[in-house]
Amino acid sequence: MGVEGVGARVVRKEDKRFITGKGRYVDDIRLHGMTYAAFVRSPHAHAKIKSIDVGDAKTMPGVVDVLTGKQIVDDKIGNLICGWMIHSKDGSPMKMGAWPAMAPETVRFVGQAVAVVIAETRNQARDAAEAVVVEYEELAAAADIKAAIAQGAPQLHPEGPGNVIYDWTIGDEAATDAAFKSAAHVTALDITNNRLVPNAMEPRAAIADYDAAEEHFTLYSTSQNPHVARLVLSAFYNIAQEHKLRVIAPDVGGGFGSKIFIYPEEMVALWASKKVGRPVKWTSDRTEAFLTDAHGRDHLTKAEMAFDKDNKITGLRVKTYANLGAYMSLFSSSVPTYLYATLLSGQYNIPNIFAEVISVYSNTTPVDAYRGAGRPEASFVVERLMETAARELKADPAELRRKNFITSFPHQTPVIMAYDTGDFNASLDAAMKAIDYSGFAARKDKAKSEGKLRGIGLSCYIEACGIAPSKAVGSLGAGVGLWESAEVRVNPVGTIEILTGSHSHGQGHETTFAQLIAERLGIPISQVSIVHGDTDKVQFGMGTYGSRSAAVGLTAILKAMEKMEAKAKKIAAHQLEASEDDIVIENGEFKVTGTDKALALPMVALAAYTAHNLPDGMEPGLKETAFYDPTNFTFPAGAYICEVEVDAGTGKTSFVNFVAADDFGRLINPMIVEGQVHGGLAQGIGQALLENAVYDSSGQLLTATFMDYAMPRAEDLPSFNVSHTVTLCPGNPLGVKGCGEAGAIGASAAVINAITDAIGNNNLSMPASPDRVWHAIHG
């Protein structure tokens, strides 16, 4: 490992622009002649639009145009789609209700757009949006899962009778039922996985710019995957042909899944830009973000785990209702199915698993992938069951887990996944040592003597990342392949540009990706630029989500590097009159091994571009491309242990310690990996203690600002004790597994397990607010 190579704690190249205020986010961009969009949004959760009067609005100062849902439908802009087909257990396809970018007739959630004002300034647009008069006929709303599946519930979509999108199953039902019949012990839990709002700090924004002469659109978008945005806008939404649409995702201020999806506002901005003949900018305010960014989680689950007399797990039976909101967002269908139920085996040998997932419509904001996406929900089910079972069986929670750990690999679970490697005992050992698990009983006694309730909780999570083998996800219903592309351009002076289809919105790719180049060529990372986020520069890519950028994106770069290096070695060998097999690359030089003959990288590059003296038949230039399709998912796993103290008088939970021991395979930059874990833990702890998207029964979102939705703040969180164990991933040559989501996947169960241990009452829902905890203690 060089000072800037793989494994080094290199400070980030991208930081200088962020700490000096020179970042370039979408809202920072101003185009000549730019107009501003403000949306008119439904105040009702469910209503018919009787009329829209835009007359007064059109006469307001600065108004360029006012456009409605009827116009966008008349212009044949396509409905939004969900790109992952799920079939119900009866074989029927999922029931996708029509979702126009602006509602022409019916609104189905508060905040759904019905019209848009385009004006000279932001304030003029907002003023005029308030002058648009919409007459609604209110309809009864179903604001949660129970209301949506009740007898006589309001029906959202004619396509989805009973508000059921699909009723999907996985696993062997008969064998699982048999395991429960012969069980020595069954642990059962009803679990609510609370609805969350992703809340990236940068609100979504879009600037659309139509060039009439070229019939070409440019979209600046807060996107995690600009190429997927272009593909979907072109292939399904009828905005423009792909070669007539450029999507640029510049600096993006966090995503956490919510910026994967293509939203109505981007479609409307593009369409409106052509209509008014000027660039159109829209920037979400925070309440719009709460109302329209795809939410996360929102499951109701009944879960049971069967044990034999030796405390070995014999079966797991799960029934989950998932609330997908008013419309099916882009990948919403896959989250509670293939990203959730396939991880229900956790870290354990479970011979029989059966899960049924019923996804439903409700008059709420659409729900889709949010950090972890299905895997936090699975991990929470499994780890709450394990902790509860340990209490019921009077077993040590760590020992019960160890008894059931998978210890030989590869391991085929009953729910599709084939775990490639891992060492679950090692991460649990590391976490237990870090928190002094054996000393806990004494600490609990001491706390008790001081009138405090002390508790400890474990969570041993596993996730499937690095999504994913295209063939595998295709067979499961995905509408896209999930490979990644890379291009290595060595310039004639020897500096290097790496073009990647991954997108960095906080992950630090400009540093970590450059570290791989530094490692392989022995050059400083200052000689390497990472280019991403522009469909005109990078040919294609699938973007960043699902902790896939190192495992898939960086492997693609490695493959392109190998091709480039092979050609460069041929050139060096030719120039040095040596055999290419004798050429090694060290410290930025191509050396003839065992001699003092060497050619520096810039000389090799220059030779490739002058082409004065290349091997016979070789093309000039030094540029290579690779597409990499993974052969399996990767399986990051780890053990989190949380120790809390609860004030019985107030119900407030305080952290004593939070330790994380993760196995992410090889670490490219441990500093960045730790940062990813910290952020994930904060979101998992946020779900467990603070965050909750609350609708009233009429479908009004009561938590639509930072004054009402409890975002974790510095004082709510402890400093974290993060460490790593390593089993190298055999599925990719780098041995990496991915680290972006782990914290959010494993943390919430550890927190709830700790609090319920402290208070001696297992009946506690997330978020475990002081109010809820107090009532759990005192009734």
Partner: protein, 161 residues
């Protein structure tokens, strides 16, 4: 439209703006200082923190008229040429930022914390003082480290002066 005159990062500026214009919009839209960000509508997130006459203020909560004649410092104005402010350097060295969106507000608020509370800060004080700034990426772990580190650096810098 009324004219406001103020000093921003040491330069005198004036602008004709609507009465309802917020300081953050003056900075971003009229002066092109886009390092100051907007993350919410309710003065909760702190992405817009600047210094007005040396004190940290959320610029989304200030009408430009209120800032008439004031001395404003933004994230663009704290480095001395190529020499980063110790708080900027500490954020970089401690990996106190990821997506970078909350970072300008965090840095401006953190400088104010050290100015007000002195450089002998402890973790609990820093966490309490950061109450008005939300970060979604870092879990605050490295931000807290950065502020404590910067406090020491600022103490050394002051001693040197």
């Amino acid at each position: 439209m009324p004219t406001v005159s103020l000093t921003v990062n040491g330069k005198k500026v004036s602008a004709d703006v609507e009465d309802r214009t917020l300081l953050v919009h003056l900075l971003r839209d009229h002066l092109g200082l886009t390092g100051t960000h907007i993350g919410c509508d309710t003065s909760q997130c702190g992405a817009c923190v600047v210094h007005i006459d040396g004190c940290a203020v959320k610029s989304c909560t200030v009408l430009v008229g209120q800032a008439d004649g004031a001395n404003i410092t933004t994230i663009e104005g704290i480095a001395k040429g190529d020499e980063l402010h110790p708080m900027q350097a500490a954020f970089r060295d401690n990996h106190g930022l990821q997506c970078g969106y909350c970072t300008p507000g965090m840095i401006m608020a953190a400088i104010d914390i050290v100015n007000r509370r002195g450089s002998d800060l402890d973790e609990a004080t820093v966490r309490q003082e950061l109450e008005g700034n939300i970060c979604r990426c870092t879990g605050y772990h490295n931000i807290v480290k950065a502020v404590l580190d910067a406090a020491s650096r600022m103490k050394v810098a002051q001693a040197a002066e």
